[in-house]
């Protein structure tokens, strides 16, 4: 599949009086068409700045970016025709109703009057806006507003959709609902780029992620591969006879896929590549040696472990209060 987005060495700094903030310091990535791509990183990492460059809102200081086959710096007007953008702030009109907002947005994209009403009704339906679509936006709850924001970005069926923290403020049910919607958009061929603080979101929704910190990419790949390559999984087990811990460790270290192991208190702790593949072999080996296993715990690593491994900090700590919510 051809790349819907190609970003090469993207840079941006903000100068204000004496200070210069290097918000984005040479970011490179490519997004295949029809996939969901996640930009993950703590507050201030440069996610929004990156999206704003890709959506023609900010001049690019250095590097190049191609979106939907068009150079962003050279042909911003063409790029605008092909993309949708839902900013972190949203940007619906407070004094208008949801439906009025959608109508205006569609009309600004040049939709013909006849088609507009149907499209608006379709979006109201698909994003579950109907209970409040004819109320003024000012009266919406945070989550209702967010769903309208997303609908606004979809009105013109963009080839590439940029979502800056689309699920912030949504309850679990609506978040799951939006994930489904994003997934189905990608299945229909739309390329989706989203930023998020929610690790499970990136994990569950994104085909690929880049983890950004201080304006640089610290890791990239599929969530699965990232978690495997960077840290592996952690397998801990206890045995019935604590005297045989050493035996157990010696035995399982010979198993293929076990990267290393230690004895931690009354447990054997192993780092393994792919836990579900290694586990049967480990248990088989122990049984063959006559070691009775009491309990096994396989901890899947999270993207937080990836961030920790690459930066020495936890994404949750670096990310502040909002990222803590993500940890629940």
């Amino acid at each position: 599949m051809t790349a819907a987005i190609e970003v090469d060495g993207l840079r941006k700094s903000f100068r204000s009086r004496a200070v210069t903030v290097e918000a984005v310091r040479g970011i490179t990535f490519a997004v295949p068409g029809g996939t969901v791509f996640g930009l993950l990183g703590p507050n201030g990492a440069g996610k929004t700045t990156t999206l704003r460059m890709l959506t023609t809102l900010l001049p690019i200081d250095g590097g190049t970016a191609t979106v939907a086959g068009v150079d962003v710096a050279r042909q911003p007007a063409t790029v605008r025709q092909r993309i949708g953008y839902v900013s972190q702030a949203g940007g619906a009109d407070d004094l208008a109703t949801g439906r009025e907002n959608l109508r205006l947005q569609g009309a600004l994209y040049g939709a013909a009057r006849g088609q507009l009403e149907g499209r608006v009704a379709e979006l109201v339906e698909r994003l579950d806006l109907s209970p409040f679509a004819d109320r003024r936006v000012r009266t919406y709850s945070g989550g209702q507003r967010r769903r309208l924001d997303v609908a606004l970005g979809l009105v013109h069926r963009p080839q590439v959709l940029f979502l800056d923290e689309p699920t912030t403020g949504l309850d679990p049910q609506n978040r799951a609902h939006l994930w489904e919607h994003v997934r189905s958009l990608a299945d229909d061929g739309t390329t989706v780029v989203l930023t998020t603080h929610y690790l499970e979101e990136a994990d569950a929704l994104c085909d690929q992620v880049v983890i950004v910190d201080h304006g640089q990419v610290v890791a990239e790949g599929t969530p699965e591969a990232l978690k495997r390559e960077v840290v592996g999984e952690s397998l801990s087990l206890t045995v019935r006879d604590p005297g045989r811990l050493d035996d157990a460790l010696g035995a399982v270290q010979a198993v293929d896929g076990v990267l290393d192991g230690t004895i931690d208190g009354a447990e054997v702790r192993l780092r393994v590549g792919d836990g579900s593949a290694v586990l049967p072999a480990v248990l088989g080996m122990l049984q063959a040696r006559g070691v009775d296993v009491e309990s096994v715990n396989l901890a899947r690593p999270s993207l937080d472990d990836v961030f920790l491994a690459r930066t020495g900090r936890s994404l949750r700590d670096a990310g502040g209060p909002r990222a803590e919510v993500a940890g629940e």
């Binding site: 605008r80 949203g90 940007g91 600004l108 994209y109």
Partner: protein, 253 residues
């Protein structure tokens, strides 16, 4: 084609927003009336006007209020830009292929229509109290007031977009407000001032509107003041709109 369609869409959007903001409507309509109610009795005591009745005072004073209204109506769209920058509305529009000139023209035209409505209320109330309105003169005055209003609004919107924050924006607008109003002689006749003030008044666009408004309101259509006002306001308005559109085109947060 695309431009007129976009202007139309954004014009209606702004107009609806104005109509749905009752506080703004109330203040907008009552402020000029308040000026009238408070200043007319004061001016009636001026030597030249003393004893000539409310009608004569209104003939002298009401055109100035209309000019003042044209100037102050222009600041509104700028304040709105500041608000919309924060709420993300501007970014949402900027990502669409909407014509940049329409982003500017829609709100300006909407505020201009609102201004004309307030003008009409003011004139109607004035007539009830003896103001002598000359229809043709008032029509030409409306054109001039529209030009000035559009210029001030384009300036305030572009300034809002560059300063981005209410503090910087308010500083610029308030800083200009006082000298522009004083030099124009809206509330106090500039003729009372020393010659250097009278000379300085000629760099104030509002001054030309105020001078023209006095002769137009009394039916003096072809006075030199009218020509001068057009000669100053047409190019200035054009230049300001061109500059503001450039600011809108350039990528700004």
């Amino acid at each position: 084609m695309k431009l007129t369609r976009d202007v139309g869409l954004l014009f209606w959007r702004s107009e609806l927003q104005l109509l749905r903001n009752p506080v703004w409507l109330l203040v907008g309509a009552s402020t000029p009336l308040l000026y009238l109610a408070l200043f007319t009795p004061l001016l009636g005591e001026l030597p030249g006007l003393h004893g000539r009745g409310t009608g004569a005072v209104l003939d002298e004073f009401l055109p100035g209020i209309l000019s003042l209204l044209a100037f102050s109506s222009g600041a509104g769209p700028g304040f709105n830009v500041i608000f919309e920058l924060q709420s993300g509305v501007i970014e949402r529009f900027r990502v669409t292929p909407t014509s940049r000139l329409a982003l500017l023209a829609g709100p300006i035209l909407a505020s201009m229509v609102a201004m004309f409505v307030f003008d009409a209320i003011l004139v109607a109330v004035g007539i009830a109290f003896g103001f002598h309105a000359h229809p043709a003169g008032m029509a030409v005055l409306a054109v001039l007031a529209g030009l000035l209003m559009a210029m001030v609004a384009a300036f305030s919107m572009a300034t809002a977009l560059t300063t981005k924050e209410i503090s910087g924006f308010a500083a610029v607008i308030n800083g200009l407000n006082l000298p522009v109003l004083l030099l124009a002689g809206v509330l106090l006749p500039i003729a009372l001032g020393p010659s250097w003030i009278r000379a300085l008044a000629h760099v104030d666009p509002l001054y030309y509107l105020v001078v023209a408004s006095r002769s137009l309101a009394t039916g003096g259509l072809a006075s030199s003041a009218t020509w001068e006002a057009f000669a100053v306001l047409v190019p200035l308005c054009g230049l300001t709109l061109a500059w503001a559109t450039r600011v809108y085109r350039r990528a700004v947060a």
